[in-house]
Symmetry: C2
Subunit: 239 residues, 2 copies
DNA sequence: TGGAAAAAGTGATGGAAATCACTTTCTAAA
DNA sequence: TTTAGAAAGTGATTTCCATCACTTTTTCCA
């Protein structure tokens, strides 16, 4: 079913209405605290789109007019520096949202969003969202909350880029992964090592070498391409 | 006049009531769009404090319970990395505010705030602020706006740390200063070179050398300790 | 206003990691 | 299943900049 949106969207397709919109609205922290009838109202404003792996959802410089919520798949958010180098800012998965920077600011995207696999997103336009924010102040507070976390993460990352060596940044990243995949000593890297190198502000070669080094030193074991088993948690924390 | 607050505040002093509170509320972008009677209401919730140069306003790990607005002076916000190195995140001047990260998040400060000179701040407690946010949704939208800018700045900075060399980062910083002090080719650095080195993720020695290098190459001229005259704008942009 | 402390400047040195060049392994699409 | 093309691994080399050690200048406050 082709969608009936105005803009060029031969590449994305509106999906089966209500069930999907409901899942979007009710699965995301900024809306799921609302009353049912309020969520229903928001659902009506939501449109769905699908992107194939590799497709660009928006580019820096694009006019921004929507909030995007990930319903399925993964999105890579990255920036290009003045000198043209790519840097991955974050990876969005189920329930994460983006587009908001430009929604409140000058309405021009500063970053790129690319589907890392086949991905479904829900969209709410800027004007619809602004209406909801004024009507339901608690949504703003939820978004403020989310922004705070992100701001903290961004500042923390910036600080680590200039104050920690690559080994330490990698160790910190691995420990963070552990926290998310609680209990188990094993997990899968959430992105390719190439992407990881960009995310951590280094190069693929260095990631290769440093991971091998951590393995040699007995801190971790690499399993297949993306698997990591942590053998010495305390050790990692002390790097 | 000593203030009557509960916490240890022998070092700060409540200042002369109404006029100062008014200036705080009406000078800051997140409130100054409100109706007069709404601002009056907020003013009642505002308390003022003064800090002497060098005093710490809050530390990482402190419980956060207030929004701070700068009414006079300058505040240096910095973080300590895991390995204990200091990194300056931003400098607050008249009308800027801080404390908000912790206000919406876990209520623990992640950074340090230090008065760079004798500084007056206005404070609003978390609970008062939350009330205003629910009552006047437009305040949230203003803060969202501010957060967006900061988030963009933080991500941009993080990206530049890992994708640009020090020369480039310095050049970018100088150009940014130019933008703020529009029209003139001369301006004062907003912080010491030591602080600048921390802000740009490098060392004082490197800042010294690179600035000297930019001067030798004819891009700029250094005037006294903090003055910079830009001689070749286009050149700087191409570094 | 003099003097101590902090900031800034400068030279020499070392080291972490980028870069380059190439091989090997993986992956996904025909 | 085959096979191009991407990702990952590895060694050699280079480069940028942190670090160390010291001098000079500035700041500020007793």
């Amino acid at each position: 079913m082709q969608c009936n949106c105005k803009h060029n969207c031969n590449h994305h397709v509106c999906s089966d209405e209500n069930t999907s919109h409901r899942s979007c609205v009710s699965s995301v922290s900024i809306f799921n605290h609302l009353e049912d009838h309020q969520m229903d109202e928001i659902m009506k404003a939501v449109k769905s789109f699908s992107y194939k792996k590799g497709e660009i959802i928006y580019s820096a410089g694009d006019q921004s007019n929507s909030l995007y919520i990930v319903r399925r798949g993964k999105i890579r958010i990255y920036r290009l520096s003045e000198s043209g180098k790519e840097q991955i800012v974050r990876i969005l998965t189920l329930g994460d949202f983006t587009g908001e920077l430009a929604l409140f600011k000058e309405s021009i995207h500063e970053s790129f969003a690319e589907a890392m696999e086949d991905t479904d997103v829900c969209m709410i336009t800027r004007s619809d969202l602004q209406g909801f924010l004024l009507r339901y102040p608690s949504i703003s507070i939820k978004i403020l909350n989310e922004f705070s976390k992100r701001l903290d993460a961004a500042e923390k990352q910036a600080t680590s880029f200039v104050t920690e060596k690559v080994d330490k940044r990698i160790a910190m990243f691995l420990l963070e992964c552990m926290d998310n995949h609680k209990e188990s000593m094993e997990f899968e890297l959430p992105m390719s090592k190439k992407d990881l190198s960009s995310y951590l502000g280094t190069t693929p070669e260095t990631i290769s070498r440093k991971l091998a080094q951590l393995e040699d030193a007995g801190y971790i074991r690499q399993i297949a391409s993306r698997g990591i088993e942590v053998l010495d948690l305390e050790g990692l924390q002390l790097i």
